[in-house]
Amino acid sequence: MSMNREWTPNIVAFCCNWCSYAGADLAGSGRMNYPANVKIIRIPCSCRLNPMFILRAFQRGADGVILCGCHPGDCHYSTGNYYARRRMTVLFSLLDYMGIERGRTRVEWVSAAEGAKFAATMNDFVKTVTELGENKKLGDLRCKK
């Protein structure tokens, strides 16, 4: 690995199967640009996101984690994203309290039709995380190359 290669953040995006994953698909088929360092993980619903998943992502080298789900009111399972909204609010606040910058975690509601929003969201998130720099706080030293 070249030493002077510019650092780019690793982003893990957890996407709800019903809306945001399709939104990401649309962004792709519409040839909208968003950075290649966003790794998408599909989950059945935004409320499937176990806090352990987020921490594991950080452990294995993610610099930012974003959750994308259906807009409130549009959940395929009626209410999943309402629960997710509360859970993530509390979790992200706790992570911030422990010193993990607020900008590294985010929740966005992206519908299947919002390919452009997906791309814009990712561009913006990558920009925020790039400014924050490398995640040195929640990473696992053993996983560093």
Binding site: P51, T89, L141
Partner: protein
Amino acid sequence: MIVNRLQELLQDDENLQFVGWEKGETPFDRTPKTFTAETLGNLCYDSFCGSNLSKYLLSQKTDKKTVVLLKPCDSYSFNQLCTERRLNRDAYHVIGVGCKGKIDGEKIRKTGIKGILSVREEGETLKIETLYGTTEIPRKDVLLDKCLACKGKEHKCADEVLGESEDTCVGDKYETVAKLEAMTPDERFAFWREELSKCIRCNACRNACPACSCIKCVFDNPNSGVQNKAAADDFEENLFHIIRAYHVAGRCTDCGECSRVCPQGIPLHLLNRKIIRDVNEFYGDYQAGDAIGQRHPLTDFTFEDSEPNAERKGGGK
């Protein structure tokens, strides 16, 4: 006085069992115990009975009607466990016992008093006899941390109340939380790193916690990839404590057992208290264990809930 009342109860039903504390070897040893009619004489309740008996009830057989002694703060945990259907309210006769704050043996030792043979309460003073002579210390200086954040003298669940209680709360219990919130992320991180790096992974905080009542914890599942007994990396320590605190979000009654039992004195309650403060702020005031059957904020929602991304300094106001 308490034992007399328990003896009376025995006259109505000689099959009762009693859950209380027993005196141990050192002046501070108070072991949770289940007593029968024969052993009831050993039951003891005094200023050193700081441990919360609610969690202890989970490990006891309930083939007999159980009389349990609960301090005001313990009654919250009892309610919460009843709410979660881990305890059956009808199986217990709850005696609310008066509490004027419990004494922390560790704090006495930390003041440098060594070789403690006995501790006597005289009003607001503790007379301490040691191997190296006698000494005194004000009672209020060595109360358990959880008593300094007392939730009040009211028993939230009791069939009868014996003795007087006192609210021992000093100042604002969110003071330290607010102080941390005012720091920069890097300072906060440094604070928690220093504290959590002391963790020896004994799991006492989890095992003592009345809200941690899962029969099998995710940290005991080798297939979860969690190194539950090895602080093999800083990350593992952070992971454990974040998940531990977050898993009891909305259910934590702020009973303070986690910090009391920590052998390394990590202020774990500061994590839980942060969550309680957030939940109160975002979703309205809520006290877990206030009453049996409450629905806690994280298993509930409204259509108008705030968005997670809102910028909050230190995750707070």
